[in-house]
Amino acid sequence: MLTRPHRRVTTLSVLGTVIAAAALGALAATPAHAEGGCKDGRLVCVGVDTPGSPGTTTPSGDTSGSGPAPGCTWGAMTVQCSLPGKGFFYQGCYYTAAAAPAPDDPVWQTSGKSPGDTSGGFYNPTYCLPGEEGVQGNLRWLPIPAAATMTPEELARRALSKLRLLPPPMHLTPGPGKTGLVSLPVWLWVDANANTWGPASDTDADGPLSLTLTAAVERIVWDMGDGDTVTCTTPGVPYDPAYGDRMSPECGYAYQHISKGQPNDAFTVTATTHWKVTWTASTGATGTIPGVTRTSTVGDIRVGELQVVNT
């Protein structure tokens, strides 16, 4: 433990004189004492260093007080492994964890990494030592798995934002610009695909935390513009003239009032899809994100009365 720091005596060694020999002798005769983490350039160090005769040791081996932790070196120098505000030491710099960049952030490409790579993470260099000063200020990928900086809920929100959930492409009979009749069946449907009806799924990760999120429409609410709403749990069935005046087997309506007197003498119909969003995290946690909706509107829905002519 009581090792003597390396002494640089090369400048003296070139002399080969009596003086040099004397000087070397003096250095060698200097009592060995533990300096531990007391760097040569320090004026004074923390410690309980006891002056000892050459070669003495103490049972604890701790004669130098609180020197830096021995684990981190840069060149021949022992440095602090971590510091408040500066983060942890890694190859010449101190780093703090950075939020994972968005998957389309070019920094992934410049780092040669893919967003799903959890073998490391992105870090901000906060302070660098000579040799690594060029790193300063640049977000850097290090092969150190990032500690999760997001909660599962936050990660779920981010995963959701990356799903393209679209408003429902709505259809109804007889359609905008045409005039339907009171009491006649109106067929209601939407073009259903993964983006408009689900299920849509995405996996996202933040450090060691990963999460799979699934979104699917659980109901669609048609606001018919006359004060009534129709709630369906399916996309509905597209109307075909072959169906004549039959009711939609899944999602339909029949206006009871004419649209005359409404703004522009027409109803405005709004369809809102209500999505059920659920997620499962790698930690086993599960959850839902409530209140996810998408809305489409179509105007100029005209409803008239059947004129019955008695003959």
């Binding site: 003296l12 320090r42 004026l43 923390v46 410690g47 302070y127």
Partner: protein, 212 residues
């Protein structure tokens, strides 16, 4: 054979630099040996080199011509100036007790090796939450000046009087310190960047038990 004696007292500083008094004193006899200067430190020591300080060493013969005294004078002053800058920066960091900001001009008078220690000292003190108070008085002298080597090298031997220095914690309360001589010997190695380039401190060695 040439033998040149230098007996000067530069007193280039006594001027506080960043609150630190730096007194530069070059006493001593120096012998020119193929461009190598030998001078004893401007402080007493137990190294047995006192004799060298009080009387010039025997001048050895040298087959090569010595550098001109003016070039050596100039180099000596530059070496002392580089050490004074190093000392001021090092002392400032220790008074602040935190790592120095990056991007300063330290690289003009410290090599990367020296700067690494200089920064690491600030980091250590930041971790300890300590800083020093009081002034250190440094009495440096150029003890080796070798303009013929590649790169040119110099050694400064300085006596550091740290008797007024206290180590304190964040609250300003004194902290138990290592035991060392109140005036101890520090040796600094300097190198020159090529011919005519800047002298830079490459590292220091402290003999904390060696009284001066």
């Amino acid at each position: 054979m040439a033998r040149v004696l230098y007996e000067r007292d530069l007193h280039m500083a006594d001027t506080p630099i960043g609150g630190i008094g730096v007194r530069t004193r070059t006493t001593a006899a120096a012998a020119v040996m193929a461009g190598v200067f030998l001078a004893a430190a401007g402080c007493s020591s137990d190294s047995g080199s006192d004799a060298a300080a009080s009387s010039p060493p025997p001048a050895p013969s040298s087959p090569s011509a010595p550098a001109s005294p003016s070039a050596e004078d100039q180099a000596r002053e530059q070496v002392l100036a580089a050490y004074a800058k190093y000392a001021a920066a090092s002392d400032r960091v220790q008074h602040e007790g935190r790592a120095p900001a990056m991007g300063g001009d330290e690289k003009t008078y410290m090599t990367d090796k020296a700067r690494t220690e200089y920064q690491a000292i600030g980091l250590d003190m930041e971790a300890e939450k300590t800083r020093v108070t009081g002034d250190v008085v440094r009495t440096p002298a150029v003890t080796v000046l070798d303009l013929a080597s590649t790169p040119p090298r110099a050694t400064i031997t300085a006596c550091l009087d740290v008797s007024a220095i206290k180590l304190v914690d964040a609250a300003g309360k004194p902290v138990t310190t290592n035991v060392q001589a109140p005036r101890y010997v520090q040796t600094a190695a300097l190198v020159r960047d090529g011919d005519g380039g800047a002298w830079r401190v490459d590292g220091v060695t402290s003999d904390r038990q060696r009284t001066c």
